[in-house]
């Protein structure tokens, strides 16, 4: 199966953000993205787009503004879309599906089997991705952090023993807080904690240049790489990355 190059937009209160080790820097609104970043062009060279509302407490107003932005974005972008951020109940997921999500990302409630089951039964497991932020805990184990990286939860290996949840969902996006926005390469070692699961795995955090994709795509367990770095892949940066990977015989799609 093809390796996917996925772009993630981090959104909060009408603006998009760059994140580096989870500290945020405002970059601009949707017009900025379209005009200065030629985002519509970027979208011709990516497999999918992820949009996350990273507001810590997603209020009704924040939710509505996010949806408004998504609906504007969707008028000119026709690629698969994953929406996430603030999903606490089935209705939150429903709102996203009704507003163009092909998949939704469950972040802080990744462990809530009741919630996941309800969504899975209605929309199918393939439409749910689990989005996990992780970093090393004091014991050196990869540990999941919820609430925008502020509260530690279970370790990754503990969570992946929960076969019931894994059967109810599709892919797993695994985002390294320590590699986030640094651009020095992805954390391939985390795959050691994910050996037994069958779900597609997307690695996020640390992609800064084409070689970084090359290295992880050689691993058969990695189905895709997610990058949120607006500046490392400015303009046709991701298109060039794709060209380089094709030349290196990496199984990515040639969209041309």
């Amino acid at each position: 199966m093809f390796k996917r190059i996925i772009f993630a937009l981090l959104y909060k209160e009408n603006n998009f953000y760059l994140s580096r080790n989870f500290s945020l820097q405002k970059v601009g609104d949707l017009n900025w993205l379209k005009n200065n970043f030629a985002f519509n062009e970027t979208c011709k060279s990516i497999d999918e787009l992820v949009c996350l509302n990273i507001d810590k407490n997603v209020s009704i107003k924040s939710k509505n503004n996010f949806i408004k932005m998504i609906n504007e974005l969707r008028k000119t972008i026709f690629i698969p879309l994953t929406l996430g951020g603030g999903i606490k109940k089935k209705e939150d997921a429903k709102l996203y599906f009704e507003n163009g999500a092909d998949k939704i990302s469950i972040c802080s409630h990744y462990d809530d089997i009741g919630l996941i089951k309800k969504i899975s039964e209605e929309y199918g497991p393939q439409s749910i991705s689990i989005f996990l932020d992780y970093k090393k805990n004091h014991k050196g184990q990869n540990s999941i952090y919820i609430n925008s990286g502020s509260s530690p939860a279970s370790t990754i290996s503990e969570f992946f023993k929960k076969e019931k949840i894994l059967k109810l969902v599709g892919e797993i996006i695994i985002n390294s807080i320590e590699h986030d926005g640094v651009g020095t390469g992805l954390d391939i070692k985390v795959l050691n904690d994910l050996k037994k699961i069958e779900n597609p795995i997307l690695l996020m955090g640390g992609a800064g240049k084409p070689e970084h994709f090359d290295i992880v795509f050689k691993n058969s367990r990695v189905n895709g790489v997610v990058t949120a770095n607006l500046f490392n892949f400015l303009g046709n940066g991701l298109n060039k990355t794709r060209e380089i990977l094709i030349k290196k015989n990496i199984n990515v799609i040639n969209f041309i």
């Binding site: 093809f2 011709k44 969707r74 163009g100 209605e122 393939q126 969209f255």
Partner: protein, 211 residues
């Protein structure tokens, strides 16, 4: 591939998009708007309508989708429309619903407009489920041949084969071959999502409507 997308509003066609609570209605609508094709989302069957084409989108759990489509009498509406020799396109679960049966969940009957059975992909190493992402569609229909290429898929159940092989117009390989596009007279079905397949998908939709 003809990459041109016209800026002129196409008034000759009027596409009805069936909203039965499953699937990406707005994405289909946005794509048609982008293509400047007149369209309308309908959330209940309209007996007297002026549609030239229908699109039945779909995502999600087959048994529930099938239940709703029958409960709200969309099945009758669709059959009447087809009898009027007008074209309909089923997308993903919308396509699957046109078949006789799916084994998803405890199994459920479809609309039986095409005989065949939707089954889960057989388990194989290195082929994780759901089958998700872009994959190659090999067309054997002359009209669509130049649009051969990558389209977006997201599904775990597929149409492995149809009795009537002559209606198979597109095949895709994921561990083994399955039917990704069929055409039975004025009845079209795609397992892939043209409305999510970038430029190529938009042109596919345009071709379905204008050709």
């Amino acid at each position: 591939m003809d990459k041109k997308i016209s800026n002129k509003l196409n008034k000759e066609n009027f596409v009805g998009i069936i909203d039965y609570g499953f699937g990406n209605i707005a994405s289909v609508k946005n794509a048609l708007n982008y293509l400047k094709i007149k369209n309308k989302v309908i959330s209940s069957p309209i007996k007297k309508n002026k549609f030239s084409h229908l699109i039945l989108p779909g995502d999600g759990f087959f048994p529930k989708a099938a239940q709703i489509i029958k409960k709200n009498k969309w099945d009758i509406f669709i059959k009447d429309f087809i009898n009027g020799k007008k074209k309909i396109l089923g997308i993903c679960v919308g396509m699957q619903l046109l078949l006789s049966f799916s084994t998803e969940g405890r199994g459920a009957k479809g609309l039986n407009l095409v005989s065949g059975k939707i089954e889960k992909f057989s388990k194989k190493k290195n082929f994780s489920l759901p089958h998700m992402g872009f994959n190659m569609v090999k067309f054997n229909d002359n009209k669509f041949k130049d649009l051969e290429g990558y389209y977006y898929f997201i599904h775990s159940f597929r149409l492995k084969k149809i009795k009537d092989k002559s209606i198979v117009t597109g095949l895709t390989r994921y561990s083994d071959d399955f039917v990704s596009f069929f055409k039975k007279d004025n009845l079209f079905g795609t397992q892939f999502h043209p409305e999510k397949s970038g430029q190529r998908g938009l042109i596919f939709l345009k071709k379905f409507i204008l050709d």
